[in-house]
């Protein structure tokens, strides 16, 4: 019974982190939330008695995904709105030149 309640709390935390990662405008926070999702998913795989899948999820989700996303954010912009503002400003400059 206690085991079932603890599993249910873990699932609720995982769904909450996923909703937070979608809702957040700051992409760095979304990357950290995806790290939390990977951690809780690995614990869930261990609880469901699949240790090899949990091993793969730990290696991929913690190290590789975070590093690749951080490098992508460094080469582009951090906030979602910045890209739209930049495009809008370029359009205004073009229309002013014409």
């Amino acid at each position: 019974m206690i085991y079932l309640i603890l599993t249910f709390i873990l699932l609720l935390l995982m769904i909450g982190a996923a909703i937070y990662a979608i809702w957040q405008k700051d992409l760095l926070y979304a990357v950290i939330a995806s790290g939390i999702i990977s951690l809780l998913l690995s614990i869930m795989f261990v609880l469901l008695q699949a240790p090899d899948v949990a091993l793969t999820e730990a290696a991929i989700g913690v190290a590789l995904t975070t590093i690749i996303f951080i490098i992508a954010i460094r080469n582009t912009v951090r906030f979602e709105d910045e890209h739209d503002k930049k495009i809008k400003k370029e359009k205004q400059l073009k229309s002013a030149e014409q």
């Binding site: 206690i2 950290i32 939390i36 690995s42 614990i43 261990v46 913690v62 190290a63």
Partner: protein, 85 residues
């Protein structure tokens, strides 16, 4: 002995919930990264306790991989925050 294990697991999941609240509330990026670090360590301990609860030796490998690789994400985020990556 099983009652002690269940008590420890429930109190650790309470700590996990407190870290998640700090992750949602935290004003800067540093607070959220600290919450991720703490959740990683609590998760490693939880996996070790689960491996005792199921009496399987192979589950310790997952905790070992998490202990080895868990700090790389935090270091990458910190290097990005000081604009040196």
């Amino acid at each position: 002995m099983n009652y002690i294990i269940y008590f420890s697991l429930s109190i650790m999941i309470l700590g996990l919930i407190l870290s998640a609240i700090r992750f949602i509330k935290g004003p800067t990026a540093g607070d959220r990264t600290v919450a991720l670090d703490t959740m990683t360590i609590i998760g490693v301990s939880g996996i070790v306790l689960t491996s005792y609860l199921f009496n399987r030796y192979i589950y310790l490998d997952v905790a070992l991989v998490y202990g080895v690789l868990g700090f790389i994400g935090v270091i990458v985020i910190a290097r990005y925050l000081e604009k040196a990556l």
